[in-house]
């Protein structure tokens, strides 16, 4: 091998190592970005779960009032029952999902499932208020709150009857 050939081989070797290093850097950066993206998606999902749950807790469509004063952590059954989908009838959408309102409330809740379940006195009652599942979702973030369920037509002497339950908001990513 003459001197010129040796120099060419040397140059090629240097370039090869250089590109190998560049390749390593790119792979490292790609993996780092992938992890960062996943973390960011989880952070966004958590944030959206809290935002959606807060919105639902204060939703005037279902919130109780007592002579115009809002009652905290309370759901008015007289308002909620007609809005919820009937669990046994899969063809029957809830008020929030019917054709007139679906687009409007999607802007409020996006891809989520909102359920209210009565715990005490236990009567297995469960209402699905909103259920729009994201196609090909890979994670679901549930947030729950204990709420009072008020029924103005079930008490004695015209007084409302309160029961307890929980409100669950699940958001999809």
């Amino acid at each position: 091998m003459n001197r010129g050939q040796m120099q060419s081989t040397e140059t090629i070797a240097v370039l090869f190592i250089f590109f190998i290093l560049i390749l390593f850097a790119i792979i490292f950066y790609y993996n780092y970005q992938k992890v960062a993206l996943t973390e960011k998606q989880e952070e966004l999902l958590g944030s959206r779960a809290i935002d959606t749950a807060t919105r639902v807790l204060f939703l005037p469509e279902i919130k109780c009032t007592n002579r115009e004063t809002p009652e905290d952590n309370c759901i008015d059954l007289l308002k909620m029952r007609p809005l919820a989908a009937v669990a046994s009838l899969t063809e029957s959408p809830s008020y929030f999902e019917n054709s007139d309102n679906k687009e409007y409330y999607f802007q409020l809740f996006s891809y989520a499932k909102i359920t209210v379940k009565q715990l005490y006195p236990s009567d297995e009652s469960e209402w699905v208020l909103y259920d729009v599942e994201k196609p090909n979702w890979h994670k679901k973030e549930p947030t729950s709150f204990i709420v009072r369920l008020k029924d103005e037509t079930a008490g004695v002497n015209g007084q409302p009857k309160y029961s307890f339950g929980y409100l669950q908001v699940e958001v999809y990513s």
């Binding site: 005037p60 115009e68 809002p70």
Partner: protein, 381 residues
């Protein structure tokens, strides 16, 4: 020492140096390119994050009733937040960056068109007509100065005491206003003096400091009555009308009247009307909910009556009463929906306001709801 190089060796050394220089330059350019791209991408990500976080803060602040939040944004003092609203959809972004515009067609947000400050002040108030429809979010800042001029029915005192956290000043004439280093000044003419003094003319500012400010940084709103307003914008040394016809304030009045505060915190008629459109859309959705509740209450009292219980006027207040003076909730909800629909059309098409019917129906419904509670113990809302 004899240092003698052949001609071939000299060419080779020169070639090597040129080669190294070119290779070095290419490598440096490569990394400079990556750094520049990374910088742009980071700035875009950062601005996107800021807008997203702010949106989340606005959503939480808007959902929580009657809360005031002061958000320190001193790190963003060099950025300008832009707010706009068209056709019932509001937008929000950072002016100096390529941040994505965040849109919202649901939550009414009343703010200046631009904010550049070290502190954001957020205040939410429930909007009722007559039942709660939504929470209005008012956005002010440490560098947005509200100048309270005159009074109407003692509202100036209420305004001053309710807005302690905001940058506001009460004056008796425009010449007293000191804009200081504020980014913008919004004059609140509570007595309607601007409108009544010179109905169709420009209002002289007569304050050199205010006159020196950029035109888009000085705005005014004049309260013609408790339920009508007129917005003004600065044009050189005068205030001119921003729109031809006065805008209606859709409220039942009373303390902490969200619609009246909305008129104050929106600095342009467009922001006010566009966000009120959102409230009217929501009102129609909620009327449908109360129509279902009325049905449930009616069935309940009917059942009690069928069981031989005395239910007095309860069924009357809900459905049976028909007459000039006495009406029922079922009819009132129906008419309220019709009025909301007409009012929405007026707001959307920028027509002279004609929402008196909406206020009248909301007032009647409130009265019947009170009567239902007094007589029967239950109420619609």
């Amino acid at each position: 020492m004899n240092m003698h190089f052949s001609k071939k060796a000299q060419v080779e050394v020169t070639f090597n140096w040129v080669y190294v220089l070119i290779a070095g330059a290419v490598i440096i350019l490569f990394f400079v390119g990556i750094a520049a791209k990374q910088k742009t991408s980071s700035e875009k990500t950062l601005s996107g994050d800021i807008v997203r976080i702010m949106e989340s803060i606005f959503a939480s602040a808007g959902a929580s009733e009657k809360t005031k939040n002061i958000i320190d944004i001193s790190g963003l003092a060099d950025y300008t937040f832009q707010f706009s609203c068209h056709d019932g959809v509001s937008e929000f972004n950072l002016k100096e960056t390529e941040s994505q515009r965040r849109q919202n067609a649901i939550d009414p947000v009343f703010s200046p068109a631009e904010i550049r400050a070290t502190q954001l002040i957020l205040w939410s108030l429930p909007y009722q007509l007559p039942f709660k429809i939504t929470d209005f979010l008012f956005i002010g800042s440490s560098s947005t100065k509200y100048v309270v001029l005159g009074d109407r029915d003692g509202f100036a005192e209420e305004l001053m005491s309710e807005t302690n956290e905001f940058n506001r000043e009460q004056v008796t004439s425009l010449s007293e206003v000191d804009p200081g280093k504020n980014f913008q000044v919004h004059v609140l003419d509570l007595s309607g003096d601007f409108y009544t003094r010179i109905p169709n003319d420009a209002i002289p500012i007569e304050n050199p400091s205010l006159e020196k400010m950029d035109d888009d940084k000085v705005t005014a709103v004049s309260f013609l009555s408790a339920n009508q307003i007129q917005y003004y914008r600065k044009q050189g040394t005068v205030f001119v009308r921003e729109h031809q016809n006065p805008v209606d304030i859709l409220s039942l009045e009373g303390e902490k009247d969200a619609a009246r505060y909305a008129a104050i915190f929106a600095t342009t008629a467009e922001i006010y009307k566009c966000n009120m459109q959102k409230a009217l859309e929501r009102l129609r959705k909620i009327i449908a909910v109360y129509q279902k509740k009325e049905e449930a209450l009616n069935m309940y009292y009917q059942r009690r009556q069928d069981q031989g219980e005395a239910v007095g006027q309860c069924l009357g207040f809900l459905r049976l009463n028909v007459g000039e003076d006495i009406q029922n909730i079922q009819n009132q909800l129906f008419r309220l929906d019709g009025e909301a629909q007409s009012c929405l059309v007026f707001f959307k098409n920028n027509l002279p306001a004609a929402c008196n019917g909406l206020i009248a129906e909301a007032t009647h419904l409130r009265e019947t709801n009170h009567a239902l509670f007094e007589e029967c113990g239950g109420s619609l809302y």
